[in-house]
């Protein structure tokens, strides 16, 4: 017994070292554990509040760029509005001619958008995350898609009452189902951890015809993103003779260094869809 106590006294620093390192490893491995994440990431009240405060200061430095973005978007929306008016007029005249059934559900009503502000964002780590200032209270749930005016941003990972952590596209764990604009072949967009302006589009089969500069958009084959949101444009194409799939590098549509406002996409029938898919898997 005495020996045991002496042993502990002699090696207590080593033991403490080992215990602390084991705790650190457990935290590392359980990073995605829900209960742990409630207080161990930047969606908690203290660090979320700090980030919001610091964002209140740094926000002013990007105002010029943001204004330009807003006026661009304004312009685009005006044009779109014009076009929609024309279409509506055409539709009205058509409807007058022969009563069209009212049972058509407009696609746009399946999705609602929740506006949120990015209060923390990284681009130069291997695994990047964003923190936004809306949470469960505002209707945000894990696995919702996040977009900005330019294109796709990421997917909500954790949500607390007032804040959420978003898995950025600039994270090797993120896979966004996307397709080429012209040929409708779909694959996944993944990040290789190097350049925050580029991603790889994988799983495009070799029989597809790909051009440089072609648009890449979301495929709509999930309940997360609707179809047709810009992801990027094809930067370079590589096809080795032995490969069945292309190696495509794309320029991202979103400038992750300058993110400020984003929209979280809530899919109205998501629960129904997930439920249905679960039943099939049984």
């Amino acid at each position: 017994m005495e020996n045991l106590i002496r042993f502990f006294q002699r090696f207590s620093a080593l033991l403490l070292f080992i215990v602390l390192e084991i705790i650190a490893i457990v935290l590392m491995v359980n990073r995605n554990n829900y209960h742990l994440s409630m207080f161990m990431n930047s969606s908690n009240a203290v660090s979320g509040g700090f980030y919001q405060m610091s964002n209140g200061v740094t926000e002013y430095f990007g105002l010029r760029h943001k204004n330009e973005g807003l006026s661009d978007e304004n312009n685009r929306l005006k044009n779109e509005n014009q076009q929609l008016r024309k279409q509506l007029a055409a539709y009205q005249s058509l409807k007058d001619k022969r009563a069209v059934a009212d049972t058509l559900v407009p696609v746009s009503e399946q999705y609602t958008y929740i506006r949120a502000k990015v209060i923390n964002n990284t681009v130069n780590n291997f695994q990047n995350y964003l923190t936004i200032n809306k949470g469960l209270r505002d209707g945000i749930r894990p696995d919702m898609g996040v977009v900005c005016a330019d294109g796709v941003v990421g997917i909500v990972m954790h949500a607390s009452q007032h804040y959420s952590v978003v898995l950025s596209m600039l994270n090797p764990n993120s896979r966004i189902s996307s397709r080429l604009d012209s040929c409708r072949n779909f694959g996944s967009v993944v990040w290789d951890g190097l350049n925050p302006d580029r991603c790889d589009l994988i799983e495009i089969p070799r029989h597809a015809k790909v051009h440089e500069g072609e648009k890449v958009i979301t495929s709509g084959f999930s309940s997360i993103f609707p179809e047709g949101i810009p992801v990027g444009t094809v930067h370079s194409i590589e096809l080795k003779p032995s490969d069945n799939f292309y190696n495509i590098t794309i320029d991202l549509a979103t400038d992750f260094r300058r993110l400020s406002y984003v929209e979280v996409i809530a899919y109205t029938h998501r629960d129904e869809m997930v439920e249905l898919e679960k039943e099939v898997k049984k």
């Binding site: 620093a13 590392m28 207080f39 700090f50 951890g193």
Partner: protein
């Protein structure tokens, strides 16, 4: 005694805030993310009890982890560095510095640089390898380690000269 505890507590808080809100925002160079909070570990007195130094290192790493959403990576690196710091000092200098606070004034510029670069390199290497978590990106992790070790070291040195 109470005075120096207060001083270190203050330094702890200031360094965490500086790291998270100032040095965490260096987005524009892509590669560069210096971890200046390591100044706290570098400047703990040599004679501090090993248990306290380990616990402090763990808490410091944990604070950074919470802000950076990195699980326990920083905590792991900090505790490792803190554990090896005593061996590093005695192995490097063969002089008993018990009770001294590591600084350029006491160690001399060359010796302090050796001491700081060793600690910073070990800390950054541990951090970037754990973050990559695969050998696929080994070269990138090493390159990042080297670049950032250099930058953190320059920042630590400039802090030392300001303090003087």
């Amino acid at each position: 005694m109470g005075n120096s505890v207060l001083k270190y507590a203050f330094q702890f808080i200031i360094l965490v805030l500086l790291q998270v809100f100032l040095f965490g925002n260096f987005h524009y160079f892509g590669f560069i993310s210096p971890f200046v909070y390591i100044i706290f570990l570098l400047n703990l007195p040599v004679g501090i009890s090993r248990h306290w130094s380990l616990v402090l290192a763990f808490l410091l790493g944990l604070c950074i982890d919470i802000f950076y959403n990195t699980g326990g990576i920083h905590a792991f690196a900090c505790v490792l560095v803190m554990f090896l710091r005593g061996f590093w000092i005695s192995g490097l200098f063969h002089i008993d510095y018990a009770g001294a606070v590591p600084s350029v004034r006491i160690f001399g510029l060359v010796n302090y640089s050796k001491y700081a670069i060793g600690i910073i390199f070990l800390h950054h290497a541990c951090l970037f390898l754990l973050e990559a978590f695969s050998l696929q990106n080994l070269w990138v992790a090493l390159l990042r380690t080297l670049c950032n070790t250099l930058i953190t070291f320059v920042l630590v040195l400039s802090y030392e000269f300001i303090r003087k």
